[in-house]
Subunit: 96 residues, 7 copies
């Protein structure tokens, strides 16, 4: 990853959502605020606490995560689209 996120930010690559298909008809996803999935590509060093101590992040590179549909900021790096969000916007880690 060419970007090193600052503080408590993480870079996530959005996974394409498998669209629901019923009888061959693709149903577009128009639901709002739907959580989404992605792969963590880079994590920041952590947020600095009140006492100057850095608090490391919980997620790590490679984690498959769940986040709200409108979380984060879209960034384009080398023609790939990523999301940069704060770790607190991540709802959970998807285990396989």
């Amino acid at each position: 990853m060419k970007i090193q996120p600052l503080h408590d930010r993480v870079i996530v690559e959005r996974l394409a959502e498998t669209e629901t298909v019923k009888g061959g008809i693709i149903i577009p996803d128009t639901a709002k605020e739907k959580p989404q999935q992605g792969i963590v590509k880079a994590v920041g060093p952590g947020k600095m606490g009140k006492d100057g101590q850095v608090m490391n992040l919980t997620v790590k590179e490679g984690d498959k995560v769940l986040f709200g549909k409108y979380s984060g900021t879209d960034v384009k790096i080398d023609d790939n689209e990523y999301l940069i969000m704060r770790e607190d916007d991540i709802l959970g880690i998807i285990k396989d």
Copy 2:
């Protein structure tokens, strides 16, 4: 549960509300902000305090809980619908 919630979040499976029936007529639930019940399916490790110490959650897997109708974010995992919310959105634990 395939999802490990982060920090102070918990995953809850909503219990179907028994609809009130009067003389055979099902009365749909249209009341707003009505609390609801669910079963805790997974809990986060706890929120990190100002001093870097993790504060564990009070609820645990299997707890039957009461929460506000619009608390949390709906997520779909393996065709099942769950809610991810912060522990602070849970009003109480239902004892049997």
Copy 3:
């Protein structure tokens, strides 16, 4: 009580307000934000402080309390209606 409130929440059973009667005519209560009375049915263990220490609540089961009209969330437990609110929404304890 079947519900154990979390953190600094308390469960209150609303006392029916004695409606003012003048010459046999019942005057309905339409005033807004009028405080109300209730009996505390269950209290949470207390809110966790910044240093991880639990701060116990002041009110206890059986206390007759005064609270604002729109404080708390209505919950229905075994066909009884209760209010779940944070202790800070309670204005005072009524002594007999």
Copy 4:
């Protein structure tokens, strides 16, 4: 006083404002946000600080105080009207 206020709340009995009279005509008070006077009837034990220590209130029972017109919540106790407000809503103590 039948009510024991919680935390940093105080119960105040509003003093009737002497209406200004000019040439026998009573001028009703319609000014907004005008501070008012009252007598403190009961005080809470104090607010709990971050370190779990209770911080006592400054005002005490019997103090004549000045407060903003819309401060506090009106409560009716035994047919008397009182105000319950946080100590921080009190502007000052009136000395005689």
Copy 5:
């Protein structure tokens, strides 16, 4: 002064603003949020800090101060009009 302000509040007596006169025509002051001047008549004991320690105020009785036009609450004490504001609403002390 008959009023003892609480905490970090101060009582200020507004100085009449000398209206600008050009060629004998009085130009009324209609500008908004214009700072104003006053004399401090009484000061509170100070705000209580998080650790329970009182932090004394910087201004003292007799100080000529500058404050924003809409700072504070107007109070009438013995037919004199004063302003009660928090010390933080005072912009500076005017030296002679």
Copy 6:
């Protein structure tokens, strides 16, 4: 300077902006939220921290500073116009 700013406030004398001139035509400045320059005329003693310790300001009298166009409050002292703002509204110090 006749005014001693309180806490973390500073008094700044706005520098006249050199208007851009193209071919002899003066282009008026109508851009909004444009930062501006000024000279610090007086600084407050510093803001009191949570632990009662005063935290001194970084800017000092005579500093040429950059600030947002709508920062601060305009004050008129002895027919001169100044700005009183909190140090945090100052974007940077201009070195010569």
Copy 7:
């Protein structure tokens, strides 16, 4: 750099965005809230913590950074346009 940013502010020189060209047609960038790139030209000494200790910034002069499109305030220094923003508005550091 002629400006020394205060506290946790940084000065960034915006990099011109390479516009996407398809078949010779330049597609103007009208997307909103798109992150942008820039070079850090100067950094503040750090924000003062609650305990009076300065917390140094993570970015340093020369860093190529990514930030939100509407982050910061535009300033013009010696006919060059810069952005002054808080470090927290910087999303990440671009590595080469």
